[in-house]
Symmetry: C2
Subunit: 153 residues, 2 copies
DNA sequence: GTATCTGCAAACCATTTGCATAGAT
DNA sequence: ATCTATGCAAATGGTTTGCAGATAC
């Protein structure tokens, strides 16, 4: 990373270091806001725009991947060697996103290209629903429609 | 529609009439902005917020369906009896959205529920790509990355 | 007559941008 | 010394909301 930037005339700064470390520390999915909230407490003055600019940069360098969730929010995930072909389920209760692996989906892109003549450049395959944990919580805690504390992904 | 509203104490206004007619006239997919642009030329003064409020209303009444396209835009489609289980392909060149029917997709929801324990409430299965028409146009008209319609700054 | 709608302007909210300054090389 | 990166504030763009006046019932 450090080298990757330097090779293209870009600079390795304290902020980029912090953001990069924070991302590696999580491993899962994360949002710009969450990264910012975490860092800004320990490092007041950290600008939210720096987070966005750095995430953009990391995306360009293929280190992370931006995943806009239709009508909901935007999350990112690390592009660690994980092979493509995984998709996501987003919990509308707690905001958590988990990956799903359904082989069947992998072949659909080709079918779509053949059948409709599109040159497919990407896809969004995303399910929304309520995760097992939230289902359990809602069952034992009916009436309460809002989750008690809503950590963003 | 008229009756559906009146039965719930809501009013059948000129604006709602116009919007409803315009939607029926199209049959396909449409955006709030497009409806507004069309109506506002013939009926100046028509407020964009009225469009949004009416589309919301029509959605509540299950007359149309809102389809947010991740990271791109939001479109709507009529809820004419078409059974569920059709998905979309969005052309990133011209913004057109077409429906696709791929049987395989229908069964995936169940698989996901079983495998991951989510209570699935919805899904976004959307492919992005370049439609056959735009592919042809781009081929005969290279260099021009933007679609033809280029409004003033 | 009165409660619902409308148009307008202002608010929103996540994200982006302009600019003067700080900082990396 | 140079030129990129940062923080701040202000801009953006699509959508929503508050409000006074207009309109359907």
């Amino acid at each position: 990373m450090k080298d990757l930037l330097r090779d293209t005339g870009m600079r390795w700064t304290r902020q980029r270091q912090l953001i990069y470390d924070e991302i590696l520390r999580r491993k899962g999915h994360f949002s710009a806001e969450v990264i910012w909230k975490k860092l800004t407490t320990r490092h007041p003055g950290m600008g939210l725009s720096t987070i966005y600019r750095t995430l953009q940069l990391l995306e360009d360098k293929k280190i992370i991947k931006r995943i806009p969730i239709a009508g909901e929010t935007t999350i990112y995930e690390c592009e660690d060697g994980t092979p493509h072909g995984h998709h996501h389920i987003f919990c509308t209760e707690c905001g958590k996103t988990i990956e799903m692996h359904v082989d069947m989906l992998d072949s659909i892109e080709e079918i779509v290209m053949e059948k409709y003549g599109f040159e497919i450049s990407g896809h969004t395959v995303m399910f929304n629903g309520i995760c097992p944990e939230c289902r359990a919580r809602l069952k034992s805690d009916p009436g309460d429609d809002e989750p008690e504390n809503n950590p963003l992904p």
